[in-house]
């Protein structure tokens, strides 16, 4: 997509090319995008790089609590497991949990927010009041309550953090539907007798995609942080899976002598979140029609 865009003048670009062109000029966003692609590749090929049974969960007591070295770049934990392997393998857990939570957020939040924004009136009032009540409970606490109620498992963890995603995606969808629904082309669609469902699906939602896309990028970042927070409190993925928050939680006990055990998993979370935030900010700028020349 990108090769021709630089040579051509603005006028000849399609919308997608135009966005890509503007995104490419944003250094932060490109760094973010590169790191995100690398992380996805790491997650996909984690089991090619490391053997799960021997490298990731298999322990060797003689090698425990070793400081970072050439052999173990991130050191080893209290069971003698290589933290480099565990942190890298953890990419798979953290990214997929974040993505899954946001996916649920999209599937529920977009129709919910669209209904609020499109129908307005009483529907909007009651549906939004429900969202307000959910928002009154701090996100972390909501997660703790849900995981306590449903039991500790990967699926329940995803479900717990998806609530926050549903709320923010529903809000952003509602806001953009409100601005789009009074546009003239929606009026025309209604005049030629299209059904409400068709108008929402074909004419309104596609024009609300930009803010939703930005929210999704930033949402994956916040979902990863939420997931690792819950794991850190001991309510996330059961041990010995190498999720980043769980690694932090395990390392916390040895923070006085072996602080590297908490350093690297946290760095991994920070780098991932930072890249997604940079990409999200870049996308927001690139998709903003006000900046289009």
């Amino acid at each position: 997509m990108g090769e021709n865009t630089v040579k051509k003048k603005n006028k000849n670009r399609t919308q997608g090319q135009e966005i890509w062109f503007r995104l490419r000029k944003n250094i932060g966003a490109m760094v973010g995008l590169t790191v995100v692609i690398l992380l996805i590749l790491t997650a996909v090929f984690a089991d090619v790089l490391f053997d799960y049974d021997t490298d990731v969960i298999g322990y060797e007591i003689s090698e425990r609590k070793q400081a970072p070295s050439a052999e173990h770049p991130f050191g080893t934990d209290d069971m003698g497991r290589d933290l480099f392997a565990r942190v890298l393998y953890g990419t798979r857990y953290s990214l997929s949990i974040g993505a899954a939570a946001v996916l649920i957020g999209i599937l529920v939040g977009v129709p919910y927010g669209a209904a609020c924004g499109y129908f307005g009136g009483k529907v909007d009032l009651y549906l939004m009041r429900f969202i307000d009540i959910i928002r009154a409970v701090p996100g972390l606490l909501m997660g703790i309550v849900i995981v306590s109620a449903l039991g500790q498992s990967t699926f329940n963890l995803i479900l717990a953090i998806s609530i926050g995603q549903i709320v923010s995606i529903a809000n952003i969808t509602r806001a953009s539907v409100l601005t789009v629904k009074n546009q003239e082309y929606v009026e025309s669609a209604r005049n030629i007798g299209l059904s409400e469902g068709r108008i929402i699906l074909k004419h309104i939602i596609p024009n609300c995609l930009s803010p939703i896309l930005v929210q999704v990028t930033l949402g994956v970042a916040s979902a990863i942080v939420s997931a690792s927070s819950l794991s850190f409190l001991g309510l996330g993925i059961p041990v010995p899976e190498p999720e980043w928050g769980a690694l932090l939680s395990a390392g916390r006990g040895f923070i006085r002598q072996y602080s590297y055990m908490t350093l690297f998993p946290g760095l991994a979370i920070m780098i991932t979140v930072l890249s997604l935030n940079l990409l999200g900010d870049g996308l927001r700028d690139a998709l903003d029609p006000k900046l289009r020349k």
Binding site: G28, V137, S229, R252, T262, M270
Partner: protein
Amino acid sequence: MLKYTLKRILLLIPTIIGISLFIFLAMEAASGDFVSTLITEEMTDEEVHALRASYGLDKPVLERYVDYMWNLLHGDLGTSYTSRMPVMELFMQKIGNTTMLAVASTIVCILISIPLGIFAARHRGSIFDNISNVLGVLGLSIPNFWLGLMLIVWFSVQRSWLPPGGNDDGILSVILPAITVGTGHTAILMRTTRSAMLDTLRQDYLRTARAKGVSERKVINVHALRNAMIPILSVALTQFAGCFGGAALTETVFGWPGVGKMVVDAVKQRDIPLACGTLIMKCIIISLIGLATDLLYVVVDPRVKTQFASAKRGKRNG
């Protein structure tokens, strides 16, 4: 204004009903209630049943919920299962610590972010602006429980400058938790200040003020900042309110005895009255801060008052 204030306070009622119902139902669905943690092997079924009855846990969940709401209407938040003390008393013991942390982190946040945001806006596109942008995204991206752990490593374990946790050392012990909570907030407030100032700096009246010979310092600090204040104030106070709800992780990392940690522990121990009561109190506080924010706008920006007045007039006419 009064009508608006009352309406805001009345809106709390469905929220309180919703939250408490949610906690009761969720705890009902959880495997094992509070009593199941007390049961020992020697106990007979009758003894277990009596124990359950002594906490009122033998009744069906909806009946307990209705009882709870009835007591709540009489200003009684219930009694904690774990400590057998009134929830209100426990809450009052801890709320001071949470308030202290919220105030300290907000001070840290405001002192750093507003000057930086103004400077970045005035020197838009400069190296400083770019660096502060990058630092802003970085501050947003650090998971704060990890930042807390790293601060403990750097300042308590390696250098022993500051206490690693608890609140026994007065002002010294609040520094690290306040930085932990404040970092993300600082990043957000700095961005808000920058963009609000950018919007204001374009206004014509600033040119007029300069043309009249007002000093640059006064132009920025009085004329521009005051008009940029609404979004800044709104974000800062929302963050302040958020400290009452969301500082649970930081409080846990530092062993800071506040309400956030208390409610996390309460949920883990299935202490329904404590979890529910604390949450309700938090919601009331957060909503009162929200209300105070709205009322404060009138002080900062007299235009808001005229809006209220004209809305009223419009209603009367319409």
